[in-house]
């Protein structure tokens, strides 16, 4: 108030002041210098010319001095106002800045460090780093002069006092390296510093910050003051870290994948280059993409020819197989390309080849490539041919042997028959008994030989198949006649029920099957009955033989139609057949008569064998 009043009225005050000064000077001059007796007022009213001049000079001097002073004071005032305004602006800027600012006095820290440098030789950086604990302690004692609101907010404090003292508030001991950098920068005369640090706010939350510091220009005292701007980059850094980690991981994975890919390719190449099979790849257009070196070894032709003409390999195919092979190439895309052909090599040697292609599809299901493999199957082929030849020889051998076996058997059976008929004279009962054994054994052996011949013929596809019209009832009667004597001998009841039915097919073979089943039934039944039943079933006729015999265990049923399977049953062991009977029946049914045979049986109760035969066999 007083100040502003003084400002406004300074002219008046100056004038009054100057007047007072003039009064004092005048009074002094009057009394001591000039020796006047008159008072100032008297002299003012009755002036003396000399006096007047003198006064005029004095007044002029005073007025001039007053004007000068006035001007100087005005300038001083203006300068003061400017400084105040600037300071105000600076404070406002500091206080309300939207960035965190801290003001520190680093004088002691720097002094200590430089003192250390004087005592020990070495760079400040090295020394600060060397005396870690001491440096850290000094940093803790650095004075925090001030900080702004934003800084308080960042560190979760309400006022400056709540912040921990020293630089450790913003540069935690974890970031010792940053502290050393700062000291080194300042010691080297630098006024600007930037570095990363870890800071902890009041609640102990870890902040990852960036520190930007600037030395405040030295004023009167020679203290080192710095403004620190602390930027919280935690989120940024974390994100950056995550990003870096993700990138690293990705990179790692790429490296790994590349390595495994390279390894896989290497393995594939090793395989493709070294196998004797030829491995090839063609694109959807049929152009060769890859052919393994095996091609050159096996076909004895250069691989290069395939890249200019993908069908060049056909020239190496045996002329007789070439056209067929070329045609089958149409199946490449469909995936059914699988052919066997011969190749003729430049040295004249011939090899058998199996060539296969597997289509490779993209995610949309379109065939992009065909991968194929060409194998040398010469060995297999020749082995197969040899096998077929051996099989043929075996069949011939069996047929031949069987025929030769049959001739002496015919004599054995024939002559024993004649003797048993009594045409060669009387025989004793004991002789008859033995001869009957010889006779039945001979017949059994003959049956075995005949069965073997039939099976061999069926397997070789050489069985004589005939087709004729016949009456089923006659056939069944004939079959029943062959077992009737035996059945009566065992006191078994043989019931044959067959409706008249004209059939067309191989009568002899059907008869063979029916006899076989009836013979078995009689053989394996000790008491009770054997029933033959015929039932039409659409285009088929079902012929069943039901007995009350020993039956078959369930687990043995699948074995029944296998050759030479003799079920291990005491009762069965007593009766010896060829071991081929049912096998032959099933073969005849499936291969000759176009029918089926099956069995239902209860162990100890009986069995029922059923033939299902077409009434009219298809003409062959």
């Amino acid at each position: 108030m007083i100040k502003s009043l003084a400002k406004r009225w300074n002219w008046v005050l100056t004038a009054l002041g100057l007047g007072a000064v003039y009064w004092v000077i005048e009074s002094y001059l009057d009394v001591h210098v000039l020796g006047f007796r008159n008072t100032f007022l008297e002299r003012l009213l009755a002036p003396d010319l000399n006096e007047a001049w003198l006064r005029l000079v004095i007044i002029s001097l005073l007025v001039g001095f007053g004007a000068f002073m006035q001007r100087h004071v005005r300038q001083l005032n203006r300068a003061n106002a400017e400084v105040a305004a600037s300071e105000e602006r600076y404070r406002t800027l500091f206080e309300s800045s939207p960035i965190s600012l801290f003001e520190y006095d680093l004088t002691d820290l720097m002094r200590e460090c430089q003192g250390t440098q004087l005592r020990e030789s070495g760079s400040v950086r090295a020394l600060a780093a060397k005396h870690r604990e001491k440096t850290q302690r000094c940093a803790e004692h650095v004075t925090l002069l001030d900080c702004n609101d934003y800084a308080l907010e960042l560190f979760g404090a309400d006022n400056v006092d709540q912040l921990s003292s020293g630089l450790t508030a913003i540069i935690s001991p974890e970031s010792f390296d940053t502290l050393v950098d700062l000291i080194a920068t300042l010691a080297g005369g630098g006024s600007r510093f930037t570095g990363d640090a870890i800071s902890y706010d009041r609640s102990g939350k870890r902040l990852r910050t960036e520190i930007n510091a600037q030395v405040i220009p030295d004023r009167e005292d020679s203290r080192v003051r710095m403004i620190f701007h602390v930027d919280d980059l935690t989120y940024l850094k974390t994100t950056e870290d995550d990003l870096r980690q993700a990138t690293d991981e990705l990179e790692h994975r790429v490296v790994e994948r590349t390595a495994s890919l390279a390894e896989s390719e290497e393995r594939f190449r090793e395989l493709a280059e070294n196998i004797d099979e030829v491995f090839w790849l063609v694109d959807a257009g049929g152009n060769k993409v890859y052919v393994s070196p095996g091609y050159e070894r096996f076909w004895q032709r250069p691989r290069e020819e395939l890249y200019s003409d993908s069908l060049a390999w056909l020239q190496g195919v045996h002329p007789d197989d070439r056209e067929q092979t070329r045609k089958s190439l149409d199946q490449l895309i469909s995936g059914r390309y699988d052919v066997e052909f011969r190749i003729v090599r430049p040295d004249g040697s011939e090899r058998w080849v199996r060539d296969r292609g597997i289509p490779v599809k993209d995610s949309a299901g379109a065939v992009t490539r065909v991968a194929g493999i060409t194998e040398d199957i010469t060995f297999l082929k020749t082995a197969n041919i040899r096998l077929q030849e051996m099989d043929r020889l075996k069949s011939m051998f069996i047929a031949g042997t069987s025929h030769e076996l049959r001739t002496p058997l015919n004599s054995i059976i024939g002559f024993t028959s004649v003797i048993l008929e009594g045409w060669a004279g009387e025989i004793a009962p004991e002789q008859r008994e033995y001869l009957e054994i010889v006779h039945s054994s001979g017949k059994q052996l003959l049956q075995l030989v005949n069965d073997v011949i039939d099976i061999t013929k069926i397997e070789a596809g050489k069985l004589d198949v005939s087709a004729e019209e016949f009456e089923l009832r006659e056939l069944v009667k004939e079959a029943a006649a062959t077992v009737r004597v035996q059945a009566e001998h065992k006191n078994l009841q043989l019931n044959v029920e067959c409706r008249p039915l004209i059939m067309f097919g191989d009568r002899r073979r059907l008869l063979q099957c029916v006899i076989n089943l009836l013979t078995n039934a009689v053989k394996y039944t000790e008491k009770g009955s054997i029933d033959f039943i015929s039932e039409p079933a659409g285009d088929l006729v079902e012929l069943s033989v039901q007995d009350t015999g020993i039956g078959i265990r369930e687990e043995n049923i699948p074995l029944l139609f296998e050759p030479f399977i003799r079920l291990d049953e005491p009762a069965a062991a007593r009766e010896r057949g060829s071991g081929l009977g049912l096998y032959l029946v099933s073969k005849l049914m499936s291969e000759v008569l176009g029918g089926t045979v099956d069995v239902k049986s209860t162990y100890g109760v009986g069995s029922r064998f059923t033939l299902r035969v077409p009434v009219k066999a298809r003409a062959k």
């Binding site: 028959s417 004649v418 008929e421 060669a424 050489k462 002899r508």
Partner: protein, 119 residues
């Protein structure tokens, strides 16, 4: 006595057939080959001819066919003996002019039944 010509190269079979037939009151003329059989058939008054299919020289089928071309034998039944029927044997036997056939082994009863039926 009814005369039967038996053409059979195997002496055992020949013997067996002879026993059976002789026992049933037939007179046997036995020859071991087709050629001799044809010659004999042409010069003898026969009631029946029995011929084995498997013979050295011309086989039984051929023998039967040639005999069928001899007018004098037109009314004489020919019966073939076959071992287990070979592929197409049956048709060949009948189309060669045979009246019937029987399969080995020779069962005396069956043979006689077949013969009685044919004559």
């Amino acid at each position: 006595m009814k005369k039967v010509l038996v053409i059979e190269d195997n002496p055992h079979n020949m013997k067996l057939i002879s026993i059976v037939l002789e026992h049933n009151g037939y007179e046997i003329i036995g020859v071991p080959s087709g050629e001799e059989g044809i010659e004999k058939a042409a010069s003898t008054d026969l009631h029946m001819i029995i011929v084995d299919i498997e013979l050295p020289g011309i086989d039984g089928i051929e023998t039967a066919r040639q005999m069928r071309m001899i007018d004098a034998l037109a009314g004489v039944p020919i019966i073939a003996i076959t071992s287990h029927a070979m592929k197409g044997d049956r048709d060949r036997i009948l189309s060669a002019g045979c009246n019937g056939y029987f399969e080995k082994p020779i069962d005396p009863i069956t043979i006689m039944q077949e013969i009685e039926k044919t004559i």
